[in-house]
């Protein structure tokens, strides 16, 4: 089950915490990867740490022209196929709405939502020709629940969900599925440094009683990327220990 041998995948934000776990999970199931990220050195180091014949393609997702070029570059580097696209890269620019600068709004929407659209639009072409494709975008529990200080981020993540549903309907007849994975609180450098009181308050809201890990997200992405998940499209798989049941 969930064998990805013979499939190729482009993963954005692949050198980050969740992104690297997703990339390792896909590679572990046999997929050949094009990993992308904004920091070329960090990206290359990550690529070299993966076993197998993977490629690194750096890209600044706030640069529209660079984003439009990313899929063609990845397809060329992967030998002419793209089976899986994982829109994982995301940024935050938290601020109360009343204090939020135009630039903080624009930057988050551009990287988290617009870049994902541009990448899916570009990937749809080869996927249509292949009559096969799996698109998985990483959204967030806050796209459903909201979060104070994150009007921009919550909007971008909710936007991914709506966009994915529209694209799922457009592309279903070509055997291309478009889904989202919505992580809850995931263990990271940021959550590790939270004060103890804040951490226990956080855990009190999670029925599973623990934070999630990157591997939990990687496993969800592997499922939605697999051949076996071909009848699942337009969905959001929530991976959050039960903290929000939607």
């Amino acid at each position: 089950m969930f064998d990805l041998t013979g499939m190729t995948a482009l993963v954005t934000g692949a050198s980050g915490g969740i992104g690297s776990a997703i990339a390792r999970a896909l590679a572990g199931q046999g997929a050949r990867l094009a990993v992308s990220g904004s920091n070329a050195d960090k990206l290359e180091a990550f690529r070299a740490s993966l076993n197998g014949d993977h490629v690194a393609v750096a890209c600044d997702l706030s640069d529209a022209a660079a984003v439009d070029a990313l899929v063609p570059q990845a397809v060329a580097a992967l030998g002419g196929r793209i089976d899986i696209l994982v829109n994982n890269a995301g940024v935050t620019r938290d601020n109360l709405a009343m204090r939020m600068k135009d630039d903080e709004w624009d930057q988050v929407i551009r990287v988290n939502l617009e870049a994902a659209f541009r990448l899916i639009r570009a990937a749809a072409k080869p996927m249509m020709k292949q009559r096969f494709g799996r698109v998985v975008s990483i959204t967030s529990v806050v796209g459903q629940t909201g979060n104070p200080g994150q009007a921009n981020y919550a909007a971008s993540k909710a936007g991914l969900v709506g966009m994915s549903k529209a694209l799922a309907q457009e592309l279903a007849s070509r055997n291309i599925t478009v889904n989202c994975v919505a992580p809850g609180f995931i263990r990271s450098a940021m959550t590790d440094t939270l004060p103890e009181a804040q951490k226990s308050a956080l855990l009190g809201r999670i029925p599973a009683g623990d934070l999630g890990t990157g591997d939990d997200i990687g496993a969800a992405v592997v499922y939605l990327a697999s051949r076996e998940a071909g009848y699942v499209t337009g969905q959001t798989l929530h991976v959050n220990g039960g903290m929000a049941m939607i």
Partner: protein, 78 residues
């Protein structure tokens, strides 16, 4: 019948799975040949590949019949 017309009709038959004799020059992709909007996008991609032409979106929107496609390609192929 021109060589372009033959090749265009062959692509239409293959992509839409229709009988060759239905693919007349006046046939509308959507009304007569049962294509949907995604089929049109695919046909345009196939024409671009077959003839090495670039068909921009605003031109693609005006290609609704087999004849439209043949005319556009004859005018723009190198």
């Amino acid at each position: 019948m021109s060589e372009t017309a033959d090749r265009v009709k062959k692509i239409v038959v293959e992509h839409l799975g229709v009988e060759a004799d239905k693919v007349t020059e006046d046939a509308s992709f959507i009304d007569d040949l049962g294509a949907d909007s995604l089929d049109i996008v695919e046909l345009v991609m196939a024409f671009e590949e077959e003839f090495g032409v670039e068909i921009p979106d605003d031109a693609a929107e005006k290609i609704t019949t087999v004849k439209d496609a043949i005319t556009y390609i004859d005018e723009h192929k190198g």
